[in-house]
């Protein structure tokens, strides 16, 4: 533990594996340009299912990022998480064996769908061939804790390790959890989420979500905040951050890319989107309180943007409920409209986009959305230049969680 600590959680590393970019720089380029990569699903065995459109991670060669010993015992969702963690550690200047005690680095991930493709393969062996055909890695590849465990082992990180198995909002909760670990004395936490929900059986499992868009045309499948909103489309991928105490980061001469200033979470019931208005507003107020941030200081909002009329209305109203008149004036964006909702990975991708937006002074657009039917200033068509010092990131989960997180640019407290 360090002698002097600021109590502030700094983001010093970002790693991304997303449908619209396999690296952080490629992701930002697509986000800034408002590129949509939503497309027909091409994963093996999925073509006949009534879920047609998603954000697939294409061209990802796991073996380029991860050693064979880890590859064989892990699902695609852990491949994404391990690749993103490696990139985040590189970015933070902590790759290789970091100096200091192994207990000073923890790992936290959020997971909402587990190792579905690996699990389906082993289920097929069990039921198609017999129990003795189930492989030795099923017990460690399918479960929600796989990515945290493997990142910990691969990096030699023995600090506090955790897993929030959650709906989408758990992605923000995980980052807050990591921040609390830092405040309790852990130097560094590798925190993130990545999902791979596009295996055939995993897709069947999602068909019951009432908010799922089963549109066949990628151009109209996911259009949040429009009068033709018809639900969300799922996505693969996610992001991992390196967070650490701000003073410690400064002492080791690492650039502080952003500061996690505040977070709060509430619960208002599965698919009770009318009630999510109050839940989200309270989460925003809680996050602002913890950050010591006035509503007018929020320079950009990364919206949850679920994409059903009722949920979008609740979110738009929650912004005004929590931010007052500023709620209709602050720029709002939803880059995920261009690549889908990666469950717990979604909020991490939003955090990554928010940090990059603040660094570049540009609010990225909401791809494919033009006809907004809510009283918010949704940024569309092209990125909008702006001085961005504080960002608000929102997330709601299909099981009823609401969360808000306030990020400050660089070292601002």
């Amino acid at each position: 533990m360090s002698a002097q600590r600021s109590g502030r959680t700094a983001v010093t590393g970002i790693g991304v594996v997303a449908p619209n970019g396999l690296r952080t720089d490629a992701y930002w380029k697509s986000v800034r340009e408002g590129v949509s990569v939503l497309d027909r699903i091409t994963r093996d065995g999925c073509g006949h299912l009534p879920l047609r459109v998603a954000g697939e991670v294409r061209g990802f060669d796991a073996s380029a990022f991860i050693e064979e010993t880890f590859l064989v015992q892990t699902d695609r969702f852990s491949h994404f998480a391990m690749a993103a963690a490696g990139a985040a550690l590189d970015d933070a200047g902590l790759s290789g064996k970091a100096a200091g005690s192994p207990y000073s680095v923890g790992v936290v991930t959020a997971a909402g769908s587990g190792g579905g493709e690996f699990g389906q393969r082993e289920l097929q062996k069990l039921w198609g061939q017999g129990s003795r055909y189930v492989g030795p890695y099923q017990s460690i590849a399918w479960f929600y804790a796989a990515s945290t465990g493997q990142i910990s082992i691969r990096g030699g990180f023995k600090g506090p390790c955790g897993v929030v198995a959650s709906d989408e909002a758990g992605g923000l909760d995980a980052v807050a959890h990591a921040g609390r670990a830092v405040r309790r004395g852990t130097d560094v936490v590798v925190v993130g989420a990545a999902e791979a929900p596009l295996a055939p059986y995993s897709m069947v499992c999602q068909l019951g979500y009432p908010e799922l868009s089963t549109a066949e045309d990628p151009a109209v499948a996911y259009r949040p905040f429009t009068s033709r909103a018809r639900g969300f489309v799922p996505a693969e991928g996610g992001a991992v951050l390196v967070v650490e105490d701000a003073d410690r980061a400064r002492r080791r001469g690492t650039a502080i890319r952003a500061t996690v200033a505040g977070h709060a979470a509430t619960f208002t019931g599965a698919s009770r989107w009318d009630r999510s208005r109050e839940g989200l507003a309270r989460a925003i107020q809680g996050a602002l309180d913890e950050a010591g941030c006035a509503p007018e200081e929020i320079d950009v909002v990364f919206a949850d943007a679920l994409g059903t009329p009722e949920a979008d209305r609740a979110e738009a109203l929650a912004l005004t409920d929590a931010l007052g008149p500023h709620g209709t004036r602050v720029p709002v964006t939803a880059p995920k409209a261009g690549f889908g909702r990666a469950y717990c990975g979604g909020p991490l991708l939003d955090i990554a986009a928010a940090v990059l937006a603040m660094e570049h002074g540009q609010v990225p657009p909401t791809p494919g959305v033009f006809d907004i039917c809510h009283d918010i200033d949704l940024v569309t068509t092209r990125a909008r230049p702006a001085e961005l010092r504080t960002a608000l990131i929102l997330s709601r989960g299909l099981m009823g969680s609401n969360a808000a997180l306030v990020l400050r640019q660089g070292e601002q407290a």
């Binding site: 289920l123 492989g135 099923q138 910990s152 990180f157 955790g162 929030v164 999602q206 619960f267 019931g269």
Partner: protein
Amino acid sequence: MTPRRVAVTGIGVVAPGGIGVPAFWDLLSDGRTATRGITLFDPEGLRSRIAAECDFDPRAHGLGPAVTERADRYIQFALVAADEAVSDCGIDLAAENPWRVAVSLGSAVGGTTRLEHDYVLVSAGGKRWDVDHRAAEPQLHLAFSPSTLASVVAERFGAQGPVQTVSTGCTSGLDAVGYAFHTIQDGRADICIAGASDSPISPITMACFDAIKATSPNNDDPAHASRPFDAHRDGFVMGEGAAVLVLEELEHARARGAHVYCEIGGYATFGNAYHMTGLTSEGLEMARAIDSTLDQARVDPTEIDYVNAHGSGTRQNDRHETAAVKRSLGAHAYDTPMSSIKSMVGHSLGAIGAIEVVACVLAMAHQVVPPTANYETPDPECDLDYVPRTARPRKLDNVLSVGSGFGGFQSAVLLTGTGGRTR
């Protein structure tokens, strides 16, 4: 600023051998075992065909068809355990500020039993990769989403504060209690419904532990198959169940004149960064978790009165854990009873950590250490006092519960008696 203190004011349990706290404590204090041949499905062909099953009739515990048609078995367990805990704590939750009521529940494998059931339907018995969605049940998405557990429990009690599901393998239950402790300590809620549930007795889960020979193959003598710390131990016996605790900020509990069982004195978790399923013989990381909880509560190692062991009954676990406790407690380890209730109720993966915390609460309430059933032959590598076969009266002020999980998780929770120190 002094951290807010966290009290345990309610407990509930669904465990093999008896549903509800009285039946559970009877089983533990009698040293009876609830392990038997699997009845929940036909286990033919498996290496380990034994388990500790719950004889669970949801209707007998007030769950109507509206709940049972939607909620998986593990969620039903959690609801029944939560009903008992909330009733026990005496809080009128309807009169509380709902935004200050949190939920933190753990599960290692969540809805996998239902996921497997429907997989068989949509794949025509494992024949096709391109599964047929038309054969799936309409509620399948609730089994797919791990957060269904905390969500359903939160809705039942009107909780609107932070609601989360924790899934750190076999330490899920301890970690869910730990996260709840932090949630109240940090001031994010005043009350937290905390615990864990799992119902993993299914072909896929049994088969995947078969594949790594982690479970006991002693099918001929299931009642004596779970043998933690015994020289002849040969793996764990799968279990199922749930436990829920109501954690409450101490002043909140005092203000309403609540019965306080004990306090959560500390919680810590570390990764071993060693192996997803393997454990070292040194136990360094678990020892560090224990040390951290003692530091938090300012309790000296010599003041620990009982260690509730993970004690799964695998060769490596029991050796690892013995080393960890010796490392943390020093010579006092030899004077400290350490038992494993998995000898009686099996290993219910993510649930067991919470079930063991409830066992510790009851041990303190009764001032009795539950035994390690089936312990007969000492193992030179496991040379502590494992409380063989018979429960033992003892003054219990400070009690530790520890756990290890796949993924390398090593966690510890310290319970401190109400008559103990103030911090």
